[in-house]
Amino acid sequence: MNKTILNMDHIVKYIFDAYGKPIKGTNVKILNDVHFDVREQEVHILIGENGAGKSTLMKIIGGIIPHDEGTFELFGQQVHFTNPRQSQAMGIGFIHQELDLCTNLDVAENLFLGREIGGVLADKKEMYRRAHEMLMQLGFDIDPHTLVRDLSTAQQQIVEIVKAISYDSKIIIMDEPTASLTQSEIDHLFEIIRSLKEKGVSTIYISHRFEELKQIGDRMTVLRDGCFVGTMDMEDFTYDKAISMMVGRQLTQMYTCTHKPQSEELLRVENLKISPRTEPINLTVRKGEVVGLGGLVGSGRTELAKSIFGVHPYYGGSIYYKGQEIRKPEPKKLIDAGLMYLTEDRKTEGLVLQKDIAQNITLASLGKLFPSTWIHPKTEESKADEMIERLNIICRGARQKTGTLSGGNQQKVVLGKWLSTGAQMLILDEPTRGVDVGAKAEIYEIIDQLAARGVGILMISSELPELIGMSDRIYVMRRGTISYEMTDKTEFTQEGILAHTV
């Protein structure tokens, strides 16, 4: 068995702010007593659902945020990184999904950025020569004079890998590297990873593409809800085992389900493609029905919602609402017809944080509420009060700025905006993300009440228990299209859903 070069034990990370510091007054743990170790010359796969804590763990290893508790030992030394350069200096190379390159510079300039050769005047000739040498030695025939933006994604990744190796990285973290690669490029990447392994460089490989994992991995660690579930040798890997490790949690009873779906169809999507390269999507939502839409991050759920709502292009296919085709979807048109979209990111797309509750709640219905264009403050406030009461928004009043509310209450304000505009079909994108437990239960109740009154709901969620508890039917998305539809409630299992997301 190879030597362990990275060892993390009992790692705890509390929920953090933009600077990586724990947010005061909360005890929410993003990582709870996590163990993770990497050996010499291995490819170690890391899997887990959305929000399991994978990227947080990697950020700690990469030095982007510090860990709050626990031990982190690297090459025999105790470390506690506070900035990425420390991690880089100790031999960790991080290849992010959004590549860390300047696309307007060429390959050599990117490779040497920050450590250019020469005195006051740079020695360009030497730089290109060395870059060429580096690339050739690793077996890549990329001209160092090429501008990065002219390279394919696979080639850009190679540049990043070369950069990491040139910094003497002994462990390279790759975050979803195969997301935009063709099969032959994936094969090439795997060859590179294997040869790196031979030469003493380990790889931490984050991915949920199960079919690739067995090809490339030596061991696999599973995280779930911020906790360490276990590590297995890839020889023992099976789909079922991995999925049950990812999922195995109890279903809490906080979901209300008193509504009954009607038979009348409200929204229908036919053969819609969210990008030229993906498969067509077919989906329906009926009146009074709660339809769940599951899938991992990047599977296209938000893109689908935005395509329906008219703020994302789609390629081919049609959208039908209340039986009529919507040719050119546009937010205003759809809102007027009763179709509304509660966005994933409430801070930048759902609320105007600098404005108060009343102003946010009326934002989508200004024309309807104030046909004379005169905004009556009292009308606005009473609408807001109505929503505050109905949704139990905890605040100092209708004139409190939304930026000062808690996450759960902010989400309720956004909900209030759509409810007060008379929603008949609601697309909810992660409605309970970042919301505390109490508010979550209240939101579930509201969703149920809406469905009971005939509102159709398409609920995008990464939380499997939520999907199972609230939905009448579940669609699962994968790689830009629907991979499976579950109509029978007995089919609703976490393992079952997850199996179709990978």
Binding site: E349, Q354, R396
Partner: protein, 323 residues
């Protein structure tokens, strides 16, 4: 709805200053001037200041709309020049009826604003580049159609629109300005348009996803600004009884921007207040007035203006950081 805890007097004052900064600054400067300059505190002088501030304030109203979208209109001063010479040509040279001439000049403003708006919204050229370019185009056009010459002695029927005496010391121009202020107070503070404009400036994604037609709002801001610039051009021509292609210009644009910034309008968009810019511009004109009364050289004004806006921007930024 519960009341918040009792606020201390100090905090009350701080809140008031924050909310009504431009008014406070204005009062402070007037106070200072009254105490140090003997001829400042007279009705005649105040009337003079009001008359001088009346026209630029109209320009500020338009610029505020554009600033609230997060953009800027650097062509405003040159639009003033173009509209000035246009109204002169229409009324005096081509003898078009006054009412029609005014309409045509306003339409011209609308057309220019439309071009600005389309470039910024549809083609996504940054506002400062677009309006920088259109500004010089307007300057060129103004000079070409007039051959560089001004038109003097405009018809009396046109002049009375602005010069008729009101309340002894004021004139109709001030009334017109007041009317615009009232209209824009409503527009920006009480109407759905103002709400949408402000939301757009603060968070374009949220506005778009809430069904606001962001494209229309953005373009209309530029149209409004150019039309108001057109009004300024006409009123200025009445004021000096001369239609000039060089009326306004880059310096005038800068004065307007300074007035807006002093009036609390945020350069990042979303925040703007009509009373704010009124007092902002009044403050600038008071400063100019003081310079005159003290017999200080005229150019001091432009230097001080520049420093004033510099200080304001710096202080604004420091304040934002502190919070």
């Amino acid at each position: 709805m519960e009341k918040t805890n009792r606020i201390s007097a100090g905090e009350r004052i701080r809140n008031f200053v924050k909310e009504n900064g431009s008014f406070v600054i204005f009062m402070l400067i007037c106070l200072l001037a009254s105490c140090t300059i003997p001829r400042f505190a007279s009705i005649k002088n105040f009337a003079l200041i009001l008359k001088q501030a009346a026209i630029p304030i109209i320009g500020c109203l338009g610029m505020t709309c554009v600033l609230m979208t997060g953009g800027i209109d650097l062509s405003l001063g040159y639009m003033i020049g173009l509209s000035s010479i246009s109204i002169g040509l229409l009324i005096k040279t081509y003898e078009v009826p006054i009412a029609l001439s005014i309409c045509l000049t306003l339409l011209l403003g609308a057309a220019v604003g439309l071009i600005n708006g389309l470039c910024v919204q549809k083609i996504r050229v940054p506002a400062f580049i677009t309006t920088l370019g259109t500004g010089y185009v307007l300057l060129g056009v103004a000079q070409i159609i007039s051959n560089g010459a001004s038109i003097n002695r405009l018809p009396q029927a046109f002049l009375i629109l602005g010069k008729t005496k009101v309340l002894g010391k004021l004139n109709t121009t001030v009334l017109i300005s007041l009317a615009f202020c009232a209209v824009f107070y409503y527009l920006l503070h009480c109407s759905t348009f103002g709400r949408r404009l402000s939301a757009f400036g603060l968070s374009e994604p949220t506005s778009r996803l809430s069904g606001i037609q962001t494209s229309r709002i953005n373009i209309s801001a530029y149209v409004i600004c150019a039309v108001l610039a057109s009004v300024c051009g006409m009123l200025l021509s009445i004021d000096v009884n001369c239609a000039q292609p060089t009326m306004g210009g880059g310096d005038y644009t800068f004065t307007i921007i300074t007035g807006c910034v002093l009036g609390g309008v945020s350069l990042f968009g979303g925040v703007g207040s009509v009373p704010g810019v009124i007092f902002g511009m009044l403050t600038l004109k008071v400063i100019n007035n003081c310079i005159n009364l003290m017999n200080a050289p005229y150019y001091l004004g432009s230097a001080i203006q520049g420093i004033v806006i510099l200080l304001d921007i710096i202080l604004e930024n420091i304040k934002n950081r502190k919070l």
